[in-house]
């Protein structure tokens, strides 16, 4: 999830609100498909496609109608809210009790383990590492490098003979595809898909990216993706501690303050531009 946010914000310089909608979309797609009898891997794949579509809608609204990228994301996000309810069959959530999900699959891999949670943690760690490695690989390809250069210097992409719009669509789509897949995993982990799961995804994604950047300054692609994951883990840990020891209702307030602190200490050009001007 955080890696998806990283692609749009950091690589493409495109603050994308769509993720708040594509995350629950992934969750509800997986929930309703698994309940409908599909294998969870098929469901995750469909979730990925759904995310791709959501991302491309945002990118198209932005490019074709020349709508500001933030607003384009908000529009898609708003529409996704209704679409997600539709996907669930006019409900706002769907339980996954007693269904075969990735969790039951992982738990079943090695039976009678004293700590089945260990296995789940290990599994998710592997998934994240695989995704990270694929992304690292992608950003070493011709297309990946071109995508980075577009975020770095928008003028350059034209010089390279590339249609920047197409590049943006691809980038935003992949990002949302990733976010939707993580939404799908989240639904299986939590045991339900809910249309409200996405609330604050963009903020927690951003927080992860920034905490990561705060801790690791090294800028190679390997470390860039690595620190997003690290940032995400720390963010989750902090939130967990906050929930246990603090007043849960204050969490959003703390998240906001944490973000502001990070913003103050890291360079995050697209979010700070206006303040400087």
């Amino acid at each position: 999830m955080a890696l998806g946010v990283f692609i749009t914000f950091r690589i493409l310089d495109f603050p994308d609100m769509t993720v708040d909608g594509s995350f629950p979309m992934g969750a509800v797609i997986v929930a309703s498909m698994v309940v409908g009898g599909f294998h969870f891997s098929t469901a995750l794949f469909v979730a990925f496609i759904g995310g791709l579509l959501a991302g491309s809608v945002t990118a198209l609204i932005h490019i074709k109608l020349k709508v500001h990228n933030l607003l384009a994301g908000i529009l898609t996000l708003t529409m996704l809210y209704s679409i997600n309810i539709r996907i669930l069959g006019n409900k706002s959530n769907q339980a996954l009790l007693n269904k075969d999900t990735v969790i039951t699959w992982v738990d079943g891999l090695i039976k009678n383990l004293p700590h089945p949670q260990m296995m789940e943690v290990l599994f998710f760690f592997i998934v994240v590492m695989v995704v990270k490695s694929l992304l690292d690989l992608f950003f070493r390809t011709d297309m990946g490098l071109a995508m980075i250069s577009m975020g770095d210097n928008p003028k350059m992409v034209t010089t390279l003979g590339i249609n920047g719009s197409v590049m943006k669509i691809i980038g935003v789509s992949i990002a949302n595809g990733l976010v939707a897949v993580s939404g799908g995993f989240a639904a299986m982990y939590l045991g339900f898909g809910d249309i409200n799961l996405g609330q604050g995804i963009i903020v927690s994604g951003l927080a992860s990216v920034m905490i990561g950047e705060f801790i690791i300054r090294k800028d190679t692609m390997f470390f860039q993706t690595f620190r997003v994951i690290l940032g995400c883990t720390i963010y989750k840990a902090v939130m967990y501690v906050g929930r246990i020891y603090g007043e849960p209702n204050d969490l959003k307030l703390w998240t906001g303050l944490l973000l502001i602190a990070c913003l103050a200490f890291t360079k995050f050009p697209i979010l700070k531009k206006r303040a400087k001007a």
């Binding site: 990946g144 980075i148 350059m156 010089t159 390279l160 003979g161």
Partner: protein, 264 residues
Amino acid sequence: MIRLEDIKQVFNPRTINENIVLRGVNLRINAGDFITVIGSNGAGKTTMFNVLSGAIIPTSGKILVGDRDITKVPEHKRAKMIGRIYQNPLLGTAGNMSLEENMVLCSKKGFRGLKISLNNELRGNFAEELKTLGMGLENRLKDRVGLLSGGQRQALTLLTTVLSRPELLLLDEHTAALDPGNAEAVMTLTRRFVEEYHITAMMVTHNMQQAINYGNRLIMLDKGRIILDISGKEKSELTVSALVAKFKAIGSTMQNNDEALLEQ
């Protein structure tokens, strides 16, 4: 051969801000021409380049490459044909990416797939090519381009652009933002590359001496028209004072800083 036929460009038509910037530009760019372009601020030099590169589609008129009409071909599709270097050295390369990444990016034109970009053979080639700049950049392949000086960065852009063998190279005051030493170095490279690679080029400059010393042809733009187009012997015999006289003759639309530049 590239031709501009009666190019007109009007910004904000039918408003109080209407601005007729090109008033019928006709130009035939022959293969191998190195044309220096002069004209006071606002004469329309950059706009003419924008029309050529496809950054703007002219209000009327035609751009022909050979027999092919490219007037409406989008900028990114012309990039293979037309290379362009801006005044701002930051625009030509990606500052947060390494030299080798920038070079591999620029070594291809057009949409690209999922092939891994860099390998050691390419790195070797890039190092060889960078050596020709004589700036020691061949030892800095992994450095971020943002760490280079403006002059090094502009030289790098020039190199990658030239290596992509454009049919036309547009240089828009590409040394104006550099300190004198770097400007000199980049100008020397420009001349060398244009000659070595037989590049057809147009170069906007504010420096009359440069406009005379470089290239085989010189054009002067004024209020959206080409009012002077000289080449060959006539060009090689041109002097700064003769050019200044021409400037004066067209009625001084020149601004003070132009006057100052003319004295150089």
